[in-house]
Amino acid sequence: MTLSETLRYSGLVAERYELASVAEKLFGTKQLDVTAGTDQGWSGVGLPEELGGSGGDEADLAPILEAAGSTCAAAPLTWSTGVVGQLFSHDADLVSAISSGADVALPLASAEKLAAEITLEDGRLRGEFLVIGTGSHGVLVPFESDGAPCAAVLTDVPVENLPGLDQTRPWGRVRLDGVSTSGMAVVSAPDLFSRWETKMAQAFALDAAGAARSALRRTIEYSLTREQFGRPIGSFQAYKHRLADMYMHLKLSQSLAFRAAAEAGEPASVTRANAAALYGTSLATKICGEAVQLHGGIGFTWEAGLHEFLKRSRADQVIAQGQGSARDALSSLS
């Protein structure tokens, strides 16, 4: 096996392996083009074909989301296809727009916690929150109506662009000052927020695992070429053990993220997704931090680019963990 093959998720069977390789190549060459691949149906994977998606399920989408992370792609796949599309997979208009690359911005906060802050009076929403995405095709917002969890895609709300520390993706702020929900796509279900947070955990854990994979690959390659004391630094045991730990952490975060996606819909998948959010993304950030450290001084520079993986996985971690939601769910004693 080549190093690149070794570092990929071991559970990818031939077809998905091919999917992952093509996706990575595509995102890698058109990193700044947010529409990369939309003409080929990439944004519609995991969304129903009869409504305008590309078909397949979340297990098929998983390697694509991971590839987006590994290339630090700017495409809105992670939030638009991975989260919004999943929650509105019955809505032909949204499915078809998202499959064509539309960006529906996603709040960074936990759905349940944000819904408690957003008010609904006379059918009008008020509140303020941070999002990922340009929101060129709307903003997803959680709220409660008569105690029932709801989500709406608001299409006429401006997103104020904000500079993110992670510059590989768009960030912004949304202010709702009495926005009407009438005529907007709305879903409501008792378990809506839990599903929402599970999808967020799955999608962003995959992105983080992808970023970590690339950071580790670069570090291993560096350790084989960089020499000190007359030897490649990768031959020193203290260094090797750090790399072995990074590899172990990568494999654990991959297994969590990919299994959470593959098991989607099964009862056990919620726990797996929460574990991917709490532990998988923490490991990914740790790997990216180790990549900076093990490159020495050069790792600390802007030019080396390792900061992109570190900031990306950190953002994924913060989003996936939902301010303690994943932790609280995992430590439930009932």
Partner: protein, 413 residues
């Protein structure tokens, strides 16, 4: 899927029957509920020596009725002939049911020996040993020596050919259960002292042979699970060689590889059962008073999920016959470190009472609920079977392709 637009976008078919396995799991769970002795913990506390072995053998034979004693060995050799996925379910349900583990039989008698003899033995050796091992003869392992731990290929116990037999001289260490053992899988040097892995032969030793002396070693918990074996001019017949003379290193690799299969997954099952015990304990107090503990618990639960997911991936690879990419070494490191942290955490929840020795006569598993003993015992998992540090070397050098450590350098050279 509208995959026609791009060669790469094609949806793979769903694999494997999940439903069939779920039915199998229910069946196994029911079997353990009906057949496992419920009061075994109290019983074994009263048993000593041979009585303890007999009690374990009795449970082993009950398990054997369904092939659960050695589920991965073909039925014709006394095993269960189960698939890898089914073996995992059996070990998981065994742990989950709280039924008695078999520390005197696992892993050597029921795992290492049948697998290795079936892979390398003559027909006569297979007939003589395999079915009996699965029915309860006790085997121990004689690989490590006082001077050869991580560097196993430096071992110095010798086997010299004299007429129609071999004569063994040397000393072995860390042999679990050797005080009860009928036989021993033994590595000895048949080449020159410098021949390293090229001059080692794999023997099947009768522990009742003259010149075999077993002395138990007291371990950090106060228990005597493993032993030293002294070999003083022990005579072995010629047919006690497993495989070819001087080819023992590759036979030993088979033994070591079998440690990485579904067998290691029973500990992951024990960890899962342990987490449930901790949750029950915490549920008896008010949630706000244990907020920091719950945060720690969440991370342990998540780590258990991660190791389980990794082990499921390994099972898939084994089923596909694909190379494991070092994942078994990773699994060993990660579950042993999780076991350490879980047992430390659970022990801490008990407050000062963790300082009192529960004085159990036997260690009956990796997670017994005597948390401080479990914590002390957890070092056996981070050290045995190739220390976690050696596993990291293996991953770095064999899997990631990093340059090897300089080997064999003489001190001061």
């Amino acid at each position: 899927m509208r995959g026609a637009r791009h060669d790469g976008v094609a949806v793979p078919q769903k694999g494997g029957s999940v439903t069939g396995l779920a039915e199998f799991r229910r069946d196994i769970a029911e079997w353990f509920a009906l057949n496992a002795p419920a009061d075994w913990r109290e019983t074994v506390d009263r048993l000593r020596g041979q009585e303890y072995l007999d009690y374990q053998r009795q449970w082993l034979r009950t398990l054997g009725e369904r092939g659960f004693a050695a589920p991965g060995i073909p039925r014709e050799w006394g095993g269960g002939g189960y698939t890898v996925s089914e073996q995992v379910v059996i070990f998981e349900e065994w742990s989950r049911s709280g039924a008695m583990p078999l520390p005197l039989y696992y892993s050597v008698s029921l795992n290492h020996v049948p697998h290795t003899i079936l892979a390398h033995g003559t027909q006569e050796q297979k007939e003589r040993y395999v079915r009996d091992a699965i029915r309860g003869t006790v085997w121990c392992q004689g690989f490590s020596e006082p001077g050869s731990g991580s560097d196993l290929a430096s071992l110095r116990t010798t086997a010299k050919r004299q007429d129609d037999h071999w004569v063994i001289e040397g000393q072995k260490i860390w042999s679990s259960g050797a005080m009860f053992a009928d036989h021993c899988i033994l590595l000895a040097r048949t080449g020159s002292q410098e021949s390293r892995h090229r001059g080692i032969t794999y023997f099947l030793l009768d522990m009742r042979a003259e010149g075999v002396d077993v002395r138990p070693i007291r371990q950090n918990t106060g228990h005597h699970e493993f032993c030293e074996i002294f070999l003083d001019s022990v005579k072995l017949p010629l047919d006690s060689v497993l495989g070819e003379v001087d080819q023992g290193w590759s036979v030993a690799q088979t033994t070591l590889e079998t440690e990485r299969g579904p067998i290691g997954m029973s500990v992951i099952g024990e960890i899962g059962a342990g987490l449930e015990m901790v949750k029950k304990h915490l549920a008896t107090t008010s949630p706000s008073s244990v907020a920091p503990e719950r945060a720690e618990l969440a991370t342990l639960v998540a780590r258990h999920q991660a190791v389980s997911a990794l082990s499921a991936d390994i099972v898939d690879l084994l089923n596909r016959g694909a190379p494991d990419g070092g994942l078994s070494s990773l699994m060993k490191i990660s579950f042993s470190e999780l076991l350490r942290d879980l047992t430390e955490f659970a022990s801490r929840l008990n407050g000062p009472s963790e300082l009192i020795d529960p004085q159990r006569p036997h260690l009956t598993g990796s997670v017994t609920g005597d948390w401080t003993l479990d914590w002390l015992q957890s070092w056996s998992w981070t050290i045995a079977g190739g220390t976690n540090e050696i596993q990291r070397n293996i991953i770095a050098e064999r899997t990631l392709g990093l340059p090897r450590e300089p080997r064999g350098a003489k001190r001061g050279a």
